[in-house]
């Protein structure tokens, strides 16, 4: 009996007990590797978020990856045009699970003040978005808040029906498209 007690004491000094889900979520939310999909003005403001003053590294997201294969957070920063939309979907499809999308700024979220013939009215028309950050462009603080919101979602394992029910908008309308073959 006393041996058991010693073992408990000893293990408490170097181990902790938790649930598997919780520890995985802890790892996921503190090591988000963003892919900066900067297309316009928001891309410049995203540089500030990464830069020395605001420093996204403090939230565990400093490893910027330009390859979708190595990233799990897609930062859509800037206007997505009709011409760009198929490429955005292809990038999203190439990302590995678990993956998250943060839409930065008015244009990415809704088309912004470009209610125009060549502008997609929000990137959620083609990919599932987890967090929308308003602003034109949003301040870096707002983007940090968006990332923290996402971290909370991961921690709480918030259900994401928009993601679960998502289907590529191009596979049905265009079965021969090379977009459909992306695995």
């Amino acid at each position: 009996m006393s041996d058991q007690k010693n073992l408990d004491d000893m293990s408490r000094s170097f181990a902790l007990t938790t649930k598997l889900d919780a520890i995985v979520a802890w790892g996921q939310r503190n090591a988000l590797w963003p892919l900066p999909y900067g297309t316009a003005c928001c891309g410049i403001e995203l540089m500030s978020v990464m830069g020395p003053k605001y420093d996204l590294a403090r939230f565990g997201a400093e490893v910027v990856r330009f390859s979708p294969r190595q990233a799990d957070l897609l930062l859509v920063a800037g206007t997505i045009t009709e011409k760009m939309a198929p490429i955005l979907v292809r990038i999203y499809e190439q990302m590995l699970e678990p993956k998250y999308v943060l839409s930065m700024g008015a244009c990415a979220s809704s088309g912004g003040f470009y209610r125009a013939y060549h502008v997609l009215q929000g990137c959620d028309k083609v990919i599932p978005v987890d967090v929308y950050v308003p602003g034109c462009p949003p301040t870096p603080e707002a983007v940090l808040d968006g990332v923290m919101t996402l971290q909370k979602m991961i921690k709480d394992r918030t259900p994401r029906p928009w993601k679960d029910n998502w289907k590529s908008p191009y596979t049905e309308s265009n079965p021969n498209s090379e977009l459909g073959q992306v695995r």
Binding site: Y37, G38, T39, A40, C41, G43, I44, E45, M47, S48, G51, P52, K53, F66, S67, G78, T79, T81, E82, K83, M84, A85, P86, I87, L88, R90, I91, C107, F113, Y114, R115, A116, Y117, H118, V119, L120, Q121, C136, P137, T139, P169, Y170, S173, N174, S177, E178, L179
Partner: protein, 565 residues
């Protein structure tokens, strides 16, 4: 700008002596722009003559204007610039729907993309153009969006990406890929390429056999949006052209509208605009130099320089509340006065920044690796640079000291003491040298402007142009009525047209504005500096190494916002 009321006699008599008959109409607009209206059959000969004998060596812009009620509905407008005596002339020809006009690409190489854009936006066909196809809209787009009968919000979806393609010049193999070479696609959203640019190349080993770039991935319809918004509401859209130096676009646009209105803004507003512009030039060059280093693998410069950019953001935030897209100007002056002590803050920043520039100069320009990667790489000759329509730091890197701040001074630039840095080889290294030296010159201009900041009002007080101050709107009936009338009726410039240009960070930023007397611009064409520069990319990188092509794109400082508009 001095407003001449007559068309220059020498040019007129020369043209008449050469072409005889009274086929041309010579017009000088009320604000002093010289226009030659020519029948489309003789446009090509006239342009050739103007270039070779009248010294108009730059084609700054080619664009269309749509007048649906007219029998020949389109105007094709050429904006020419003479770099010897700094004069401009505009050539206009009328073209009916379905007709064609001879191309100017065999006179100036730089007409290439501008004509493609006119074709894409209006459906104007240019005879003999080597590669007349869509440039800004996606390949599944039907119709021509800048025609007046195209609805501004009629979206057309795109569901695929164009395969690798090249220009179809007559002596080339067209889009057929040669199986001896490796085709490669870079971008958009590629580790080695800036945001929305797409470059395609065929490689023989590491050497580029031919290259092509596809643009339009950020075409967000600036010109159509300008036609559907009142004059002052266009200002936020101009912010988002070259978003690295947003205030410069505000200034360029407002200056154009003010020129059409024929108003002069007060000295304080002029000096404030100069300070804003030069601060913007510094932070634009910070991005250009910083990302240029990143593309060569040097991250330090970027992070180091970004600290200074943050400081300018703080200054902007203190001035108007916004960091990046400031929309600080209004037609007629500035939106508001600078807060107390702001100019002292700017001066303090100048001291920090000049140390920063020296550091960055040592870090980059004296760095052996940087020198080896950039010196002698993809140079461009003076002749080619002019022919392509290069302006700004890239033109000056070839040794031509052309700068609108010196040649056609505005806002009192003639009273500031500064020099125009030039390079000698036109290679990538010289481009960065010019940019870094320009930062020093800009800091010197900012210091002079801040120390001699004139007092007085920050805007004109014309009731038909500028909204009254809030205390008048809420405090007295005249102010309220004035505010109401201006908001309901809108700012209405006289019927007419104007082209005006400022020296932006990348080169000549021109606005061609046509007004029909209503509250919205009838047509607003932007002449983006990097559009002209980037079109030379396939030719400039031909025969060089792939890694050098990446360095070239970075040195061109292509900003998608103004490239695709």
């Amino acid at each position: 700008m001095a407003s001449a009321t007559h068309f220059p006699e020498v040019l007129k008599s020369d043209v008449l002596a050469k072409f005889g008959a009274e086929q041309f109409k010579f017009v000088t607009t009320p604000v002093g722009d010289n226009v030659i209206e020519a029948p489309k059959a003789s446009t090509h000969a006239l342009l050739q003559y103007l270039k070779e004998y009248a010294g108009f060596d730059f084609v700054m812009d080619v664009c269309g204007v749509d007048y649906p009620t007219r029998q020949k509905r389109f105007d094709v407008v050429y904006h020419l610039f003479n770099s010897k005596d700094f004069t401009r002339v505009r050539v206009k020809a009328q073209v009916a729907d379905g007709e064609s006009i001879p191309t100017a690409t065999n006179i100036w190489k730089g007409a290439d993309w501008f004509e493609r854009e006119a074709y894409d936006m209006f459906g104007i066909v240019f005879d003999g153009h080597p590669n007349l196809r869509k440039i800004l809209t996606h390949h599944q787009f039907e119709g021509h969006p800048l025609r007046k009968d195209y609805e501004a919000d009629a979206q057309q979806h795109c569901d695929s990406v164009m395969p690798i393609h090249f220009n179809n010049t007559p002596d080339q193999r067209g889009d057929l890929l040669d199986n001896r070479f490796v085709p490669i696609n870079i971008g958009p959203s590629h580790p080695a390429m800036h945001g929305t640019l797409r470059v395609m190349a065929e490689l023989d080993g590491e050497t580029i056999v031919r290259a092509n770039c596809e643009i339009g991935f950020l075409h967000r319809c600036f010109e159509k949006m300008a036609e559907t918004h009142p004059y002052n509401q266009v200002i936020p859209y101009t912010d988002r052209l070259n978003y690295c130096s947003a205030p410069m676009n505000n200034v360029g646009y407002c200056k154009t509208v003010e020129r059409l209105l024929d108003v002069t803004i007060p000295p304080r507003a002029q000096a404030m605009r100069v300070v804003l512009c030069e601060l913007s030039r510094v932070i634009d060059h910070i991005i250009a130099v910083g990302t240029g280093g990143v593309d060569l693998g040097a991250l330090t410069a970027f992070f180091h320089l970004f600290t200074y950019r943050e400081k300018v953001y703080s200054l902007f935030e203190k001035l108007c509340g916004a960091r990046l897209t400031v929309s600080m100007t209004r037609v007629g002056g500035m939106a508001q006065n600078a807060p107390d002590g702001w100019f002292d803050d700017v001066l303090a920043f100048c001291d920090e920044m000049s140390d920063g520039v020296d550091e960055i100069s040592k870090l980059m320009l004296d760095n052996k690796i940087f020198i080896k990667r950039t010196q002698g790489v993809c140079p461009i000759s003076q002749q080619d640079a002019i022919s392509w329509g290069y302006t700004g730091p890239l033109l000056r890197a070839t040794g031509i000291a052309q700068d609108l701040r010196k040649s056609n001074p505005y806002y009192g630039y003639e009273q500031y003491n500064f020099s125009i840095p030039t390079g000698s080889n036109g290679d990538i290294y010289d481009r960065y040298c010019v940019r870094i030296e320009e930062m020093r010159q800009s800091i010197s201009i900012i210091r002079q402007a801040c120390k001699n900041m004139p007092g007085g009002d920050y805007t004109i007080r014309d009731k038909g142009i500028v909204l009254p101050e809030k205390k008048d709107v809420y405090g007295n009936i005249e102010g309220l009525m004035n505010h109401f009338m201006l908001v309901i009726k809108g700012l209405r410039p006289p019927v007419g047209e104007v082209y005006d240009a400022t020296e932006a960070a990348n080169g000549e930023l021109g606005f061609y504005l046509v007004s029909d007397g209503s509250a919205n611009p009838y047509r607003l064409k932007v002449r983006p500096p990097c559009f002209a520069i980037y079109q030379s990319f396939p030719e400039v990188v031909k025969g060089s190494m792939l890694a050098d092509a990446i360095a070239t794109v970075a040195s061109m400082n292509v900003i998608a916002g103004e490239l695709d508009r």
